[in-house]
Amino acid sequence: MDLNFTPEEQDFRTEVRDWIAANLPEEIARKVRHDAPLTKDEMERWQLILHEKGWLTYSWPAEFGGTGWGPVKQFIFEDEMARACCPRILPFGLKMLGPVLMKFGSKEQQDYYLPRMCDGTHWWCQGYSEPGAGSDLASLKTSAVRDGDHYIVNGQKTWTTLGQHADMIFCLVRTSTEGKPQEGISFLLIDMQSAGIEVRPIQTIDGGREVNEVWFTDVKVPTENLVGEENKGWTYAKYLLTHERTNIAGVGKSNQELDRLKDLATSQKRNGKPLAEDPLFAARLAKVEIELMNMEITNLRVLAQAEAGGAPGAESSMLKILGTEIEQELTDLTRRALGRSAQALTPEVDETGYNGPHVAPEGFNNASGVYFNHRKTTIYGGSNEIQKNIITKMIVGL
C-alpha cells in the first residue's frame, strides 16, 4: 500500500506546474477563476499554446501524435491544469471524436481529421441528444438516408455545447428503423457550413449562451464521412463514453473551488466574526471537504487500476455522481456565503463597459449564476439517475 506518486511522477507534476505558471496568460486564468465566460479566441489561444508545447494531445497515444502518457500522468496534467485555473481543453474533438477515429475511423479520416483537431482548423461539436432522446439516447430520430454517394440528413440535435463556434459536428443518426433502436444508428461527420444546417442558441437559466439547437434540413453529407460501418454507431458512441474517464470526478477543480470558498468564508463576516466560525456553515463546509478528501482517494484507487490496465466499470459512474454532487455543494455554499449580495447580477470589474456598483467581492459577482449553471452537472454526461442504474446493473447484475 503506497498512496504516494513516484518521484518521477512528482517531478512531472512540478514540470507541468512550472510550465503552466510561465505560459498561462493571467487574464485568461482570472476569468476561469471567476467562472466568467471565455471568448472563442481565448479558448483557441490557450489550445494553441498547449499545441505548440505538444501537450494538447496529452491523452493520445504516441502513434497518433500524442504524448503517450499513461492514466496517472494524464491525471496529474489535468489536476495541475484545474488547480492553476487553465481553461478546460475542449473535449469534443480531442477527447471524444479523436479516440473514436483512432479505433474505428479509416486511415484517410485519421490522416485528415486528427491533425486539424489540434491546429485549430476544426472546432468540433457533438450531435447526440435530441428533444425526444435525452437519457434514452437510442431513441434518436435524426435520419440519414443514402442517396448515391451522399446521405441526406433531416432532424434536430440539441444541447450542442459551443456549437455556435463549430466547424464540424459528429452526429449519431438513424440509418435504419429495423430491429432494436440501437442497431439502426450510424456515426456521421458533418460540415457545419453545409446548406440546410441552422444553429439556434439556447439561453440557459443563468443567462449563459453555451448550448444550441442544430437543425438539419435535407443536408447532403458525403458517404466518406461515415465512421466505421453503417448501423454500428451505437458501439462507437458507447466506446466513447467509457473512454478517458480518469478525471471525471474533477478533483483538481473542486479543490481549487474549496480553497476559494474557504478564503471567502474567512473574509465574510457576521457580527464581526468570520462566517467560517458559524457552526452551521462550518459544518457544511467541513462535510464537503471530507467528502472531497475521500473522493480524492477513491479517484486515485480507480487511477491505479487504470494504470495497471484495468477498465473502470461502475467506479466511473460513482465518481461522476460524487464529483458532481460535491461541485454543486461548493457552488451552493459559495452563493450562501455571499448573503444578500448573491442577488446582484453584475459583471466582474475587468469586463468592459460596466460602470455600475459591485456589491460582491471580486470574483464572486456571478455566484448565483454559477450555482444555477452547475445544476446541469447532475443532468449531463448521463444523468446521475442513469449512473445509478449503471452501478446497480454492473454490481448487482440485474
Binding site: 498512496l3 467541513a286 471537504e289 475521500n294 486515485l300 448487482v396 447484475g397
Partner: protein, 363 residues
C-alpha cells in the same frame, strides 16, 4: 501508487478469513454476546495463536506489525464475520498504552492472549471527550489512590488490570489498577458484547504515565483505524447480503432488484461503501506517515465518514430487506447493530466533525 496489500498482510488476511469461515458461525457469537458470557474465550485464544494480536504491535514491542495497514487488515477481516472477541478493547488499546509505559511483561502476556487489560477512560459527563476527567488521583505513601467513576468500560470482566485516567495535580495521568479494588457493575451492550461501569473509592493505583494525554491520543488513533476497518468489513458483508437479497427475493412476480426505487438506494449504498474504504485507507496511511494536526484531521474525517456511512448502510440495508431485516433470527440485524454501535465508540460522527472543524481552524 499501489493500493494492494503486501504479501505478509495478504497472508494474514487469508489466515483470519479461513479460520473464521471454518470455525466462527454467527449463532454462537450472537448467543455469547447477548448473555453474561460476553464472548467466546476459546476463539480469542485461537486468534492470539494465529498471530492476530502480534500483528497489532511493532517488533520493538514484541509483535510483527503495528502499522496502520496491519491494524486495518486484521479488523476488516474481524468485521466481515462480526467477531466480538475483544481484540480492540483487551489487546490493541491497553497494549498500546502499556507499551508506551514500558510495561513489556504485561504486553507480552497480552500478545500471547494470556492476559487481557481494559482501558477505563471515559466518564459519564464527558460525551466522548477523554480530557473531560473528574476522577482524581491522590498521593498515598509511595503510590496513589484513585476516586471516581468510569463508564462503559468494554470487556472489563476478566481483565488482569484496568488502565485508568485521572486528574493528578494538574496533569492527566494514567494509572494501573488491580481489578479487585474497583467496584464493577457489568452489563450487556446493544451489539452483543460486554461492558461495565467502574467506581473507585480511594483505590490503590500504580502510576503508568504521569503525562498520559499523548498515550491516550495514540490509543485513540489506533482505535479509530481499527474500528473504521471493522466497520468496513461489516459493510462488505452487508453489501453481499443485500446484493443476494435483491437478486432472489420476488415480489409482484419479479426479483425486487428490478425495481428502480431499490436500484437507486443500492447504488447510493455501494458508492458510499467505496468512500468508506477510501476513508479507511486514508486513516491507516496517516497513522504512521503523518503527524500533528494533519494526522488528527484525517483520523477525525475518517471516523466521521465511518459514522455517517455506517448509519446509512445499516438503515438502507434493513429497509431494502424489508420485514426479514427486522428479525433477530436473520443475520443482517446483528451486523447493522454493531455498525451503529461503532459510532458510539471513540467519538461519534458529530464529535469528529466538530473536531475536524476545530483542527482546521487551528491549522
Amino acid at each position: 501508487m499501489d493500493f494492494s496489500h503486501n504479501e505478509t498482510r495478504r497472508m494474514l488476511a487469508d489466515t483470519i478469513e479461513r479460520y473464521l469461515r471454518d470455525k466462527y458461525p454467527l449463532g454462537p457469537r450472537v448467543e455469547a454476546g447477548n448473555s453474561d458470557a460476553g464472548f467466546q474465550p476459546a476463539h480469542y485464544e485461537a486468534l492470539a495463536e494465529l498471530g492476530v494480536l502480534a500483528a497489532l504491535f511493532s517488533e520493538d514491542l514484541g509483535g510483527f506489525g503495528g502499522e496502520g495497514f496491519d491494524i486495518a487488515v486484521v479488523f476488516e477481516e474481524l468485521g466481515k464475520r462480526l467477531v466480538n472477541e475483544p481484540v480492540l478493547d483487551s489487546a490493541l488499546v491497553p497494549g498500546s498504552i502499556l507499551g508506551l509505559a514500558g510495561k513489556t511483561d504485561a504486553l507480552e502476556e497480552i500478545i500471547a492472549g494470556a492476559a487481557r487489560y481494559a482501558l477505563a477512560a471515559e466518564e459519564p459527563q464527558a460525551l466522548y471527550d477523554l480530557t473531560d476527567v473528574e476522577t482524581t488521583a491522590n498521593k498515598s505513601g509511595d503510590g496513589y489512590t484513585l476516586t471516581g467513576t468510569k463508564t462503559v468500560v468494554k470487556y472489563a470482566e476478566g481483565a488482569a488490570g484496568y488502565i485508568v485516567s485521572a486528574q493528578n495535580d494538574g496533569k492527566l495521568s494514567l494509572f494501573l489498577v488491580a481489578p479487585d479494588v474497583a467496584e464493577r457493575r457489568d452489563f450487556i451492550t446493544s451489539d452483543g458484547g460486554r461492558a461495565a461501569e467502574l467506581s473507585f473509592t480511594d483505590a490503590p493505583a500504580e502510576l503508568l504515565l504521569e503525562d498520559g494525554a499523548a498515550a491516550l491520543e495514540d490509543a485513540a488513533d489506533r482505535a479509530i483505524v481499527a474500528l473504521s476497518a471493522e466497520a468496513l468489513g461489516i459493510m462488505q458483508t452487508i453489501r453481499e447480503m443485500t446484493i443476494e437479497y435483491l437478486r432472489t427475493r420476488k415480489q409482484f412476480g419479479v426479483v425486487i432488484g428490478k425495481f428502480q426505487a431499490l436500484q437507486h438506494r443500492m447504488a447510493e449504498m455501494l458508492l458510499e461503501i467505496e468512500q468508506a474504504r477510501s476513508a479507511v485507507i486514508n486513516a491507516a496511511n496517516a497513522l504512521g506517515s503523518k503527524s500533528g494536526a494533519e494526522k488528527a484531521r484525517i483520523l477525525a474525517a475518517t471516523k466521521y465518514s465511518i459514522g455517517r456511512i455506517g448509519q446509512l448502510v445499516a438503515e438502507e440495508s434493513i429497509q431494502m430487506h424489508g420485514g426479514i431485516g427486522m428479525t433477530w433470527e436473520y443475520d443482517l440485524g446483528h451486523y447493522a447493530k454493531r455498525l451503529i454501535m461503532i459510532d458510539h465508540e471513540w467519538g461519534d460522527q458529530d464529535f469528529h466533525l466538530a473536531r475536524f472543524i476545530e483542527l482546521g481552524r487551528a491549522a
